[in-house]
């Protein structure tokens, strides 16, 4: 039984690792919480009324265990942050040298894919527009310009662990690199109206030579 869809992008492993790391640490904390809840229930009859401890929980001495727990939790949290910030900087704040540039424009309710055309530049007159199917090369850094015509959309490629919103009126450039060729779904993850659930495209990842042939075919038409 697999939890995640198969990972096909260079940064997908970071994300999966982060999930398991947090899950395991949180799992240990879960055991402690469960113990702290269940143990008093099991031993509730043992304490006669007056044997209870009248503790108000004031001052450092009484609160020390809670301070310790908060401290441990802070350490764990900040180590998650440090671990994830690497991946976040890699995926969001930096753009590696591009091998291929494509624009994905959300529109109710399909994905418009703009290829740069023979001149290799986007938003010129020789751009080629296609719908819903995006072909990209394998093992290449792909820059994606995300924008939308009408309402908010969100590009979600689960196998590549990639998601980002498409907003009308602004261009957001993010990148992805596929490590395996194949066909992967590309769905919309932001409420965009009646056809939201039908806004399903696909990414076709092809090896370099095959990709160039296909691209030439697209440009010819």
């Amino acid at each position: 039984m697999k939890i995640f869809p198969e990972n096909v992008s260079v940064y997908g492993d970071d994300i999966d690792f982060l999930f398991w790391l947090i899950t395991i640490v949180a799992g240990l904390a879960t055991l402690i919480v469960l113990f702290l809840v269940i143990y008093p229930v099991l031993t509730r009859k043992k304490h006669k009324a007056k044997e209870n401890i009248y503790v108000k929980g004031e001052g450092f001495k009484q609160l020390k265990w809670i301070y310790l727990a908060i401290f441990v939790m802070a350490v764990a949290d900040f180590s998650f942050l440090i671990i994830e910030s690497d991946g976040w900087i890699k995926t969001q704040e930096t753009l590696p040298e591009k091998d291929f540039h494509v624009a994905i424009v959300g529109k109710q309710w399909l994905w418009e894919i703009i290829y740069p055309g023979p001149d290799g530049k986007l938003y010129t007159s020789d751009d080629v527009k296609k719908f819903n199917t995006m072909i990209v090369p394998q093992d290449a850094v792909i820059h994606m310009d995300l924008t939308a015509y009408d309402v908010l959309h969100s590009v979600f490629i689960p196998h590549a662990r990639f998601k980002f919103d498409c907003l009308p009126g602004r261009k957001i450039t993010r990148w992805v690199e596929f490590t395996k060729s194949g066909e992967y779904p590309m769905v919309c993850a932001e409420m965009c109206g009646v056809g939201h659930s039908r806004m399903v495209g696909k990414v076709v990842v092809l090896p370099q030579e095959k990709f160039e042939k296909e691209l030439a075919k697209i440009y010819k038409k």
Binding site: A103, I114, Y123, S125, T147, Y149, R170, K171
Partner: protein, 116 residues
């Protein structure tokens, strides 16, 4: 209100007199004249050609004017701390809102797909 059954005994500790005026009274006329002077400065400062300088001067005078009204006319000077804390929290909230919105508003260039 007439149907209210009031319990017996002391209502609650007299926290504060409900109607008594226990705060001080500044010289309202003096404050008013200061406000008018600041107002005049504002109007004349707006004649400076550089909009950035105008903005800084005019906005800081506005803050001074507003705080004069709040402190004197609204008697905040004499109000207990809780009112100060509340106004402070409002300012903090607004400051956060400004800081949070800034990077997503000001540096962003508008973009539309050509021939879209």
């Amino acid at each position: 209100m007439s149907t209210h059954g009031k319990p017996q005994g002391l209502e609650h500790e007299l926290w504060v007199p409900a109607e008594d005026d226990y705060h001080g009274h500044p010289n309202y006329l003096k404050v008013y004249i200061y406000l008018l002077i600041l107002f005049a400065i504002t109007v004349f400062a707006s004649l400076i050609p550089n909009p950035m300088i105008v903005f800084i001067v005019v906005f800081s005078i506005s803050i001074i004017k507003a705080s004069m009204v709040i402190l004197n006319f609204m008697h905040l000077k004499w109000e207990p701390n809780i009112i100060w804390y509340m106004l402070l929290l409002a300012l903090i909230a607004l400051a956060f809102l400004f800081l949070g919105l800034y990077p997503d508003t000001v540096p962003i260039e508008r973009f539309f797909v050509p021939n879209g």
